[in-house]
Amino acid sequence: MKEIGELVLPEDVRYAEDHEWAKQNGKTIRIGISDYAQDQLGDIVFVELPQTGDVLAKGEEFGTVESVKAVSELYMPLGGKIAAVNAALEDAPEKVNNAPYTDGWMIEVEAEDPGEFDLLMDKEAYLKMLKGSAP
C-alpha cells in the first residue's frame, strides 16, 4: 500500500470524507473515488453503479465497488440526479485502480444544491484528514 506521500491528490477536485472525489464538468459534477480509496481496496474486480435518472441525496449509497474478498459502498458526496454513468467500468473495472481521476470516473450528477459541492474538502483538508486517520 502507498505511503501518504505517494498518493496522487489532484488540486482540481474536491474530496468527501468517504473518499469520493467530485469535479465540476460543464453542467454536471463528475464523481469517482480517490487514489487513497482505490489503493486501500486493492485490485477492483467489479463496480456496481446506479441507473441514469435515479435521484439520490447526499450521503446515500450510489453503488458498490468490489475487490476479490471485500465489497465497499459508495456514497453520494452531494445530492442530485444521475446524469451519466461510466459504462466502461463494466468491462474494465481496473480503470478505477489505474486512473481514478480520469478514465476511472464513476457517475455524473446534476447537483440539487450547488452549495453542497462547496462544502467538500480541498486537497489540503483531505490530506490533513488522511494524516489524522493514519496510524
Partner: protein, 485 residues
Amino acid sequence: MNETVGTNGLIFNEPLLWEKGVSGRTGFSMPRRDVDNAPVDENLAGKGPDFPDLSEVDLVRHYVRLSQWNFSVDNGMYPLGSCTMKYNPKTNERQAALPGIAGAHPLLPESLSQGMLQLMHELSDDLCRITGLDAVSLQPAAGAHGELTGMLIIYAYHAAKGEKRSKILIPDTAHGTNPASASLCGFASIPLASNEQGMLDPAAVAELMDEDTAGIMVTNPNTLGLFEENITEVAKIVHDKGGLVYCDGANMNALMGVVNMKDSGVDVLHLNLHKTFSTPHGGGGPGAGPVCVTKALEPFLPVPRVTEENGRYAFSWDHPQSVGKLHAFWGNFGILVRAYSYIRSMGGENLKKASQLAVLNANYIKERLKGTYHLPYDRPCMHECVFTDKHQQAHKVSTLDIAKRLMEYGFHPPTVYFPLVVSGALMIEPTETECKADLDRFIEAMKAIDAEAKENPDLLHDAPKIPKVRRLDEVAAARKPCLRD
C-alpha cells in the same frame, strides 16, 4: 525434522472432460430395450445436450487423477478452524450405502419404511440428550439452513404472540452466515462488540436489548475458540426482554457431555452433523444442520415430525404453528444415517472423551506455539486456538504466506483471516482424531516456517511450489468470470 511430510509424487495432468472424449464412445451399460419405440411429440423433442462421449476407462482415470490434486482428511491433518475436520469413519459410508437405505424412496408408505423412521426418531432423541434441549428437527440440509430454520422459529414465536420484532443482536465474533440468515427473516442485524477478553459483555447486551429485539445469535464456544463465560447472564438479560437466545452450535465438538445447552440459557441451537458428528464434508457438502429447541419452541419446528407410538413410527404433519417445510423431503437423510452410525459406534462416554481430547489437542498446540506466534487472547481455549501473523509481519510475511508454505510441509492450512476481529488470524482446530505425534510434527512445521520467515522470506512468498498449481490469479477470475466452457 530433516524431511517435510509433504512431497510430490507423480501427479498427472488431466484435460477437461470434453477435451478428451471421442464421439461414439460410451461409459454406460445401456439397459436392454424390451419395449418398442413410442411416438414422440416432434414440437417438444430436442437434440439433447452436447455432452462428451467417454469410455469407462477414460472416466475412471479422469476422476482418479482429479482426486489426486485434492488434500483431504484421508491424506493428512486438516486443522481448519471452525470446520472440525475430524476423521470420517468408513463404516458410516458402508451403512449409508446399504441397499435398504440408499435405495429407499422417500414417499414409501410409512408401514414400509419403519426402519428409517425409527432411525430418525432415535437420532433426534440422541441429539436431545447430547445438547440438553427438548426437541429436534433433522430437516435442515446444512448449518446455514439450520440457522435459517432457527431464525424462522424465532420469527414465528414472536408472531404467535402478536409481535413483530425488527432487530437481532449479533456479536462481532459470529460466523458470517449469521447476519445473512437473520436478514432472510427480515431482522436487522445489530452488531455487538466483544470485550477485551474476546467475550460477550453482559453490560453491552443490556444496553442494546429492548422489546423490539427478537433475540441474540451467539456462537459458543465462540469463533476465538473461547467459552462464553457470561452466557447465562446474557441469556437472562435477553429473556427478561422477551427475546430468545439462538446458539450457533458449529463448535459443539468442544462440549459434548460437558455443557448442557439448555441450562446455559439457549433456546434454539443448530448442530453441524458434518462437523461434530463425523460425516464427511464432500468438498463442500452435503452436510446436515439439525435444529434443537426448548419445549416452548417445539410447536414451531418444521413439519413433518417423526412420532412413535407403541413401537410404530409415523410422520406427523398437524402442527399449525410450524414454520413449515425446509427441504423437499425429510432432509439430507444419508447424512443422518452416517451421524447415527457414529453416535452408535461411540456411545456417551466416547463422545465426551472426544470433546475432552479435542480441547486437549487445541490447548497443546496453543501452549507449544504461543512463544512463536502471537496469541491475541491468552486464555484456556476450547476446541481451537487463534494466532496472528503479527511477529512475522516484521519480515513482510503474512498469514497467507504461512498458510501456503504449510502445504509444502504436508498440512492443510488453518482457517485464515477469520474471525474478522483478529487481524491476520490463523485459526487452528486440530480435532480429537489427530494423535500427539502428528500434532508435534505440525508444531515443528509451524516453528520451521517462522524461522524461514526470518531467514528466507521468499520461500514463503513463493509457496506453494509442490502442488499441481501455484498461487492462482483470483483477480483475473473475478474481473472476467469464466464459469463454463
